[in-house]
């Protein structure tokens, strides 16, 4: 641990990694609770995997992969939201199809891209130590956007998540806010991919919020605690992985899993 702190004072890449983790915790802590209370973890997983198609296409065309990821994630979120509003029974199937087809198209794009082959593993499992400084700025910007939208429309998001029928009777545009929420989930997924990669995103989107749910009784407090827990888990995982040179994303997710297990045990013992 001392080695990590020493390196942190001198190594820019490690400082960037730390900033990336902290910034990602903000989006993860705000949106994670919605994913947990609305039970849309599978949907978020589908969006995350569909992102590989966008990243692969961007890479193939020589554009920025994070831009491609944003387009693919938002596209997948809008498609799922639109289909589920019309044909609710099809939602599950559509998510599964997007999940696999997104990955398949991404792999095809990457295989057809000339030159050095991109490090597929870093897309899948993250590479926070290599996060470029300009991505940090983008994440900060997206964080700010997510926070502002959620603060402005907190009432509506709460009403739509809690009791859709009642929200509709009060004149809330339920479908619009559902779509907006899915778009925010998509943006959060893209942010978290920078830290842990698209396969492991779902852990950060659900676990800090689920632990926070054990100790809080309102969505607002759940968000604050989830941000704090996300920050502890990501920086903790980063620190643990540094000395033995373990993959940071996988270490973060293992730490998150362990924290969740402990929290569940504590909760069970308190009963």
């Amino acid at each position: 641990m001392a080695g990590f702190l020493d390196a942190l004072t001198t190594q820019t890449f490690l400082q960037n990694a730390l900033w990336g983790s902290l910034l990602a915790s903000i989006a993860c802590g705000i949106i994670g609770p919605y994913v947990v209370v609305r039970k849309i973890g599978y949907l978020a997983g589908g969006i995350a995997h569909a992102v590989l198609g966008g990243m692969g296409a961007a890479y193939f065309l020589g554009k920025s992969p994070i831009g491609g990821a944003l387009v693919a994630a938002l596209g997948a979120a809008l498609l799922i939201g639109w289909v589920s509003s019309r044909e609710h029974r099809q939602e599950d199937i559509l998510i599964g199809a997007l999940w696999a087809v997104g990955m398949a198209s991404g792999i095809l794009f990457i295989s057809r891209t000339p030159g050095y082959n991109v490090d597929l593993m870093s897309y899948l499992f993250g590479n926070i130590l290599m996060i470029p400084a300009h991505n940090l700025k983008l994440i900060a910007l997206l964080d700010a956007g997510i926070a502002i939208i959620v603060i402005l429309f907190f009432k509506q998001f709460l009403a739509v998540s809690f009791d859709q029928e009642f929200a509709r009777l009060r004149g809330i545009r339920v479908q619009l806010f559902h779509q907006l929420l899915l778009a925010l989930v998509a943006v959060t997924v893209v942010i978290l991919i920078q830290v842990v990669g698209l396969v492991l995103v779902i852990a950060l989107l659900t676990i800090p919020a689920a632990i926070a749910g054990h100790y809080t009784g309102t969505l607002g407090r759940m968000m604050l605690l989830a941000i704090l827990l996300g920050a502890l888990i990501t920086t903790g995982g980063l620190a643990l992985s540094y000395q033995p040179d373990l993959p940071a994303g996988a270490t973060i997710v293992m730490l998150a899993g362990a924290a969740y297990l402990v929290s569940c045990l504590v909760k069970a013992c308190r009963r």
Binding site: F162, R170, M222
Partner: protein
């Protein structure tokens, strides 16, 4: 003569091929406490959803407070059966009641001072002010029911529509809930749907019996033959002597309770 605040004229509705309501006509007058009774699947909840504009009638017309149901919706308070949402959702009593202010409060940011005051008044009226900070997951069935009534009152409704408000609570609490409704009826028109015709008739001023068609709606008296007609089979009768209603049921002491 008081004016009709809800008017259904020859309304029919079906879910796919399943007819639910056929040729239902009904008028509810201002200040009334109307009970809608009938067997499960008889179309009671559907009737409420049509009045709220959540469903559209296949034929016939509905007017609420002189408007279409969609226009009048903001002036109605609705208490659904509480299985509509997740009981473990992380939300406090206060936050739940404040949702009744949606549509009448500012669209951006949190609720204002006026909303908080109206929510507090609604909680006081339903005797749950001391529970305001509690998560709903920690409440009993009767307390949840009061929260839902408070949420509907926070809408400042002119008509209160309740769907099986006592379905999941024990008889003692059930009596409290109806006592609360009786007090509210002093200023708000109330329509309550229930499958329990025995209990409800102590409180309501008029009863509508619904089993696909509206069998009766002018009666103040539930007789054995009428209940048989409604439910399609003989039911056990229970004799009651008590009178709690401010609008006493004028003729007839007997009403049915399902065996």
């Amino acid at each position: 003569m008081s004016r009709a605040v809800i008017g259904l004229d020859n309304v029919s509705f079906r879910y796919n091929d399943l007819p639910v309501l056929a040729g239902v006509s009904l008028e509810v007058e201002q200040g009334e406490f109307l009970g809608v009774v009938g067997p499960n699947g008889g179309g009671k909840s559907t009737l409420l959803k049509l009045i709220l504009g959540l469903l559209k009638p296949l034929s016939g017309s509905i007017r609420v407070l002189g408007q279409t149901p969609e226009q009048a919706c903001a002036r109605l308070g609705y208490v659904p059966q509480f299985i509509n949402f997740d009981r473990h959702f992380p939300i406090t009593v206060r936050e739940t009641v404040l949702q009744g202010r949606l549509g009448k409060t500012r669209p951006l940011l949190g609720f204002g001072e006026k909303d908080r005051n109206l929510a507090a008044t609604a909680m006081q009226e339903t005797e749950i002010l001391d529970l305001a900070g509690r998560p709903i997951a920690s409440l009993s069935g009767g307390q949840i029911q009061r929260v839902l009534i408070a949420r509907a009152l926070a809408c400042e409704p002119e008509i209160l529509l309740l769907d099986e408000p006592t379905a999941n609570i024990d008889p003692k609490v059930e009596e409290d809930v109806f006592e609360l409704l009786r007090r509210l009826n002093e200023r708000i028109t109330i329509v309550v749907v229930s499958h329990d015709i025995g209990f409800i008739s102590n409180y309501i001023s008029r009863v509508a019996c619904l089993n696909r068609t509206l069998v009766c709606h002018t009666t103040s008296r539930l007789t054995g033959s009428l209940i048989e007609e409604l439910y399609g089979s003989p039911v056990r009768m229970v004799h009651h002597e008590t009178r709690l209603s401010p609008h006493p049921i004028k003729n007839g002491d007997d009403h049915g309770r399902l065996p």
